[in-house]
């Protein structure tokens, strides 16, 4: 791999063995393009925070190489650190400091003069809706406010690469949405963003590219669109008007009773929802509402993580044959 200035992050053969001998990372190779919005997914304990900790100089790597915008972490640590903004998974505040001082101190550590630091603290605290709380002591903030403050703190030196480790954990829906909007705007302004999350909906709606880490290895690194392309079937849950006791046989759709008024339908990608509704209408079944049974990414994710391998191609024609409730294994 050559030094490519267009890459925000290049990681080669990164390994981490913790004291005591636990191998948390087993040779990670990963590239993130400049300007990307990148999701890092993986189950608890996969090694995401360890990986991020190494990028942010909080964890010593055992071996491997990290380059941030072409600068090597070992050779130019100060340049790498200046390029990265970190929003860690766990709160790491001095709880006795007022909010604004937390941001001002962080700016000071980066060598930003006080006057400029004040301007920036004001800007980011306002953007994250914390300006009114600037004089509150940290310990008086709610969890969601602390999460937002970590973002403001990470931005005060205007990093080109923002890394967020589960930024929306424990954040309510409204604030989560506004955080998403904020991050999208930041990314549109040119900041490269890497984010870990356990909400797959978040990754799907925010990110362009994705890496799935499992047991310290990259199980998959691709674009979200390409990943979702692998999903050959979708499952919907239909709420029916009136009871249906006997299920009709519909070509291309696998129907399943959940109860008298609820149906589960699995359909392959060649079929359309219009077609499904027409077929149901012909059989006198009326649908009140429908929803996806499972987030689509979630299904792929579970499958990959369970196997620790890539998703295999689905069995051809498996969906045209009526069969009992489709389990995860049947996807493969």
């Amino acid at each position: 791999m050559s030094v490519n200035p267009m890459h925000a992050l290049e990681v080669e053969q990164l390994t981490k063995t913790y004291q005591g001998g636990f191998r948390a990372l087993k040779g990670i190779d990963l590239t993130v393009a400049e300007g990307d919005f990148f999701a890092l997914l993986g189950p608890n304990g996969a090694g995401k925070s360890t990986f991020i900790g190494i990028l942010a100089s909080l964890v010593n790597k055992t071996a491997g190489r990290v380059r941030v915008f072409g600068d090597d972490l070992d050779r130019e640590p100060e340049r790498v650190k200046s390029a990265i903004g970190l929003v860690p998974q766990e709160f790491n505040f001095n709880l006795f400091l007022p909010v604004e001082e937390v941001v001002l101190n962080q700016a000071g550590y980066y060598g930003i003069a006080r006057r400029e630091a004040k301007v920036r603290a004001r800007r980011y605290l306002k953007q994250l809706d914390l300006w009114d709380r600037r004089d509150s002591e940290m310990r008086k903030l709610s969890g969601g406010m602390k999460r937002r403050l970590m973002i403001a703190r990470a931005l005060v030196h205007e990093p080109r690469l923002l890394i967020l480790d589960e930024p929306t954990a424990g954040v309510d829906i409204e604030i989560r949405r506004s955080m998403w909007a904020f991050l999208r705007e930041l990314n549109a302004g040119g900041t490269t963003i890497i984010l870990t999350t356990h909400y797959l909906e978040e990754a799907e709606s925010l990110c362009r590219n994705i890496a799935i880490i499992n047991e310290g290895e990259v199980a998959e690194s691709t674009s979200i669109v390409r990943l979702l392309d692998r999903l050959h079937t979708e499952t919907f849950v239909l709420n029916l008007k009136g009871r249906v006791s006997e299920l009709p046989q519909l070509g291309g759709f696998v129907l399943q009773h959940l109860d008298d008024c609820t149906l589960e339908v699995e359909m392959s990608r060649e079929h359309t929802i219009n077609g499904l509704f027409q077929a149901l209408s012909r059989n006198g079944i009326e649908v009140i509402s429908l929803r996806n049974k499972q987030n689509r990414l979630e299904r792929l994710f579970l499958d990959m993580v369970d196997r620790g391998t890539q998703v295999a191609a689905p069995r051809p024609n498996s969906l045209t044959v009526p069969q009992p409730m489709i389990s995860r294994e049947d996807l493969a």
């Binding site: 913790y18 004291q19 900790g53 942010a56 100089s57 909080l58 964890v59 010593n60 640590p77 100060e78 340049r79 650190k81 200046s82 990265i84 970190l86 860690p88 766990e90 709160f91 790491n92 505040f93 001095n94 709880l95 006795f96 101190n105 962080q106 000071g108 550590y109 980066y110 060598g111 930003i112 003069a113 006080r114 703190r153 030196h157």
Partner: protein, 262 residues
């Protein structure tokens, strides 16, 4: 490095930020940080200086009260420089906000300098407060301002470094009181604060010479009164040597991330 702006102005701002943060910290909680030493030393002056001191008579060629002033001032400097750095740095480890510094491009020596300067500041504030208290009991004259100030600062630097190393190795709040109790207190009490080592048998005089506090107390006593058990040049040489060793050790620990990085 020059590609993203001159380094020195950034380092200076970073140092200032840590230094000011440290000063604000001990100033905010002055009842815990400044007041106790002032009260303790006032008691020492009342009991040893006034009540008992009159019976002791003179020590090392000085009235007893005047003899113990330098030692008591330095005792305040030592304990406060030490405890400021050990508690502040350990808290930042414990609550993980040390990470704010670790992710930043602050070089290790700037971090160390900032924390040590914070400890020195508290040492000096307490030292001056104790001098003011002493002035209520006896007349304070300063024989040599430069020697007095230099000893003040070097002593504070040395023990601030000690506190830093203690914090790096500490894994609990208990660990930060072990060294002060079992090392610092005996060192100061046996460092010639309350007696001239001439009073000791020859063997114990020799042992005392291994105690760095002895050199500081004597150098300080020289600064105030012009009297010392030890030649002043040797005292400075030894203090400086201790400082260099501890500073180098601290930097090695920081570089390896001992106690702060996994």
């Amino acid at each position: 490095m020059s590609r993203y702006g001159l380094a020195w102005p950034r380092y200076w701002i970073c140092f200032q930020t840590i230094f000011v943060k440290e000063i604000l910290r001990f100033a905010r909680i002055w009842i815990q940080t400044i007041l106790p030493s002032v009260i303790t030393t006032t008691l020492y002056f009342v009991i040893f200086g006034r009540l008992i001191g009159d019976r002791i008579g003179s020590m090392g060629g000085l009235p007893y009260l005047d003899f113990i002033v330098p030692g008591l001032v330095l005792m305040g400097v030592i304990t406060n420089a030490y405890s400021n750095v050990v508690s502040s740095f350990y808290s930042s480890k414990f609550s993980r906000y040390i990470e704010e510094l670790l992710v930043s491009p602050a070089p290790n020596w700037v971090i160390l300098a900032g924390y040590v300067a914070g400890g020195v500041a508290r040492g000096l504030v307490v030292g001056i407060a104790v001098m003011v208290v002493a002035a209520c009991f006896t007349e304070i004259s300063i024989h040599s301002y430069s020697v007095t100030l230099l000893v003040f600062i070097l002593t504070a630097v040395l023990f601030a470094l000690g506190g830093f190393i203690n914090a790096i190795f500490a894994n609990s709040f208990d660990d930060i009181s072990i060294v002060p109790t079992f090392v610092l207190t005996p060192l100061t009490y046996l460092g010639g604060v309350f007696y001239s080592i001439e009073l000791l048998p020859e063997f114990w005089q020799g042992v005392s010479l291994a105690n760095p506090v002895l050199y500081m107390v004597n150098a300080f006593r020289y600064g105030l009164n012009g009297v010392s058990d030890i030649p002043i040049g040797i005292a400075f040489g030894i203090i400086s040597l201790f400082i260099l060793v501890l500073a180098a050790f601290s930097l090695v620990l920081l570089r390896r991330g001992v106690g702060i990085k996994h």
